[in-house]
């Protein structure tokens, strides 16, 4: 057990070393979300009116945070698929290490990268007027919450990476899933403008519940989310926790099993 933990941490360290050796990856993975912050703040911010003090950027930031951590799925999946293709997975599997170490290490590594990206984004948001009004503890717990969401999605990424096995394909597939999910939600615009049926989809979308939960924790009214008056929009925090647990319960065993059998 002790070895399983140290093995995982060594794999995590490998990912950090990769970032140190190829800093471009780190630069681009932080530039993109910052670009999103600026684009949405200044392109849409003017046209979407909100009743919130502080304006659109207050509602936007939770949305963008959730979108960014949702993309962890693609990062984990393509990273793992790349390792498979290069044969690295075989090397690791021929070593006397815990079988879970490689996947656990990778999910941890991707979460560490998320911490960094979230810090940079928060700074960018702050620079363009984002001011959470809740207590420090509440704001901090929102970030912990975001990291947990990213971590849960990382496990779906592990499964996708092992199933698809080609980095580029799996990246495209992941974006095909995460893009509609982040836009078919309350993240960037009110759901009230959508057709009624889509409003329900948007309400139940984990991205919406995550965004709504973060908004609450940052001290905002979740004004976009309540349109359909459904359970998730009333109780976003509980629903989000339920979703995370559900994802983990399904995908952790599934991914570990897939990994064990990956070359049979």
């Amino acid at each position: 057990m002790k070895n399983a933990i140290t093995d995982s941490l060594i794999i995590t360290k490998r990912q950090l070393l990769q970032l140190a050796r190829v800093p471009e990856v780190l630069i681009f993975s932080t530039i993109q979300p910052v670009m999103f912050v600026l684009l949405f703040r200044f392109v849409f911010g003017g046209s979407i009116s909100t009743g919130q003090p502080g304006g659109y950027v207050q509602l936007l930031m939770p949305g963008i945070f959730v979108q960014t951590v949702a993309f962890t799925l693609a990062a984990t999946a393509s990273g793992l698929a790349e390792d498979m293709k290069k044969g690295l997975i075989d090397r690791f599997r021929s070593l006397p290490i815990a079988r879970s170490a490689l996947v656990v290490g990778r999910t941890l590594g991707d979460s560490l990268l998320n911490i960094l990206v979230l810090v940079v984004m928060a700074a960018a948001g702050f620079a363009v007027g984002w001011r959470p009004t809740a207590s420090v503890l509440s704001v901090f717990s929102a970030f912990v919450f975001l990291l947990l969401f990213g971590y849960a999605l990382s496990w779906t990424g592990i499964y996708a990476g092992l199933a698809v096995k080609d980095a580029r394909t799996v990246q495209n597939v992941s974006f095909l899933i995460t893009f509609p999910m982040t836009f078919l939600s309350n993240a960037f615009a009110p759901t009230t403008g959508m057709p009624k049926a889509l409003q329900y989809v948007a309400e139940w979308n984990p991205v919406s519940t995550m965004v709504a939960a973060c908004r609450e924790l940052f001290g905002l009214q979740n004004e976009f989310g309540a349109t359909a008056n459904s359970f998730p929009s009333q109780h976003p925090l509980i629903t989000s926790i339920f979703y995370m647990v559900l994802i983990m319960v399904i995908f952790v065993p599934l991914s570990v099993r897939k990994y064990k059998n990956s070359s049979n």
Partner: protein
């Protein structure tokens, strides 16, 4: 004592459509080198992957150092090293990073991992490029680093899967020297290759496999005798054919075979026979268009053992084949 024993291994892919291993059995005496020789798709990699615990056979059994690879893969992994076309290193990291990481994954501890990495880099002449990402390495350097990574904990049994495929002649030569050095250290080695010459250089024994079966087994000399050894081959002008045939027959001591203007005959003395032939032809004022020694190739081995040439078959998954080639 046998270090590696594989018995009646069967492995099929795509729900039984493709038979990669068809009742394959082999064994390797401790401290010796067995070369598994065969064309692409013959089942070489599948065999190595099963023995190295990466793949479970559909049926059959295998042991490494007496330990069952299917029942106790974890114990086997502590004893083996694996390197070759599929086992790999992290290309974005430096050679040093990689070796230290693998040392830590073998639970050597930080200090010992660093020490071991530095020793191995020195031993494989990679110290100068230790701090460069593997991406920048030449093919030969990359293979040497890969090999180094499989030697971190002095394995008792080493598997090298086509260690020189894709290397240029110089890289191949360097790799052979490194492997020969290792063998002197007493490791048991199972090496797969597509090159008869490589098997000849490195192995005590050769197992020829085709369509997932061992079709011949023996020392390099024994196999060559079976295949036929070197042949002297000469091409001359039409007018000189008859006289050249006499000369070649005299040097060879055996019957010659003539195909259009090319005359060939088996020889046992190699380059000496070649020089004798050149001298004799010169005295007879015959100017050959082409002359040389022809060594039996893998194709010759296959032709004589199976009656068909070593064609590419589809017996291994396409993804696996693609990986090794760069």
């Amino acid at each position: 004592m046998k270090s590696i024993i594989a018995q009646n291994l069967v492995k099929t892919y795509r729900n039984g459509e493709v038979k990669a291993l068809d009742d394959l059995s082999l064994d390797v005496e401790e401290g010796t080198v067995l070369s598994v020789l065969g064309p692409n798709g013959a089942g070489k990699t599948t065999t190595v992957r099963i023995l190295a615990t990466l793949l479970k056979p559909d049926s059959g059994s295998a042991t490494v150092s007496g330990i069952d690879v299917i029942k106790h893969p974890d114990k086997v992994r502590e004893l083996i090293g694996l390197s070759g076309q599929y086992a790999a290193v992290d290309e974005t990291l430096t050679g040093w990073d990689n070796l230290v990481m693998f040392g830590r994954l073998y639970h050597l501890g930080k200090v010992a991992s660093i020490k071991r990495a530095e020793d191995l880099l020195e031993r494989f002449s990679l110290t100068d490029s230790a701090r460069r990402p593997i991406k920048t390495y030449s093919g030969g350097m990359r293979r040497r680093l890969d090999l180094a990574a499989s030697l971190i904990v002095q394995p008792k049994v080493l598997f090298l899967d086509e260690p020189t495929t894709g290397l240029d002649p110089r890289g191949r030569q360097e790799m052979w020297e490194v492997i020969q050095e290792l063998v002197k250290g007493g490791v048991t080695l199972l090496l797969t290759t597509q090159y008869l010459e490589e098997a000849d250089q490195l192995a005590d024994e050769i197992a020829v496999i085709d369509h997932g079966k061992v079709i011949a087994r023996g020392t390099s000399d024994a196999l060559k005798r079976q295949v036929g050894g070197e042949r002297l081959e000469i091409t001359v002008e039409n007018a000189d054919i008859a006289r050249a045939q006499d000369i070649i027959a005299r040097i060879s001591g055996s019957a010659t075979h003539t195909d259009v203007r090319t005359i060939s005959a088996p020889v046992t003395t190699g380059s000496i026979a070649l020089m004798d032939a050149l001298r004799a032809l010169d005295e007879a004022k015959i100017h050959p268009l082409d002359i040389g020694l022809k060594r039996p190739s893998l194709d010759d081995v296959f032709l004589s053992l199976t009656g068909h040439v070593a064609e590419e078959s589809e017996a291994e998954p396409v993804k696996d084949k693609r990986r090794g080639k760069k």
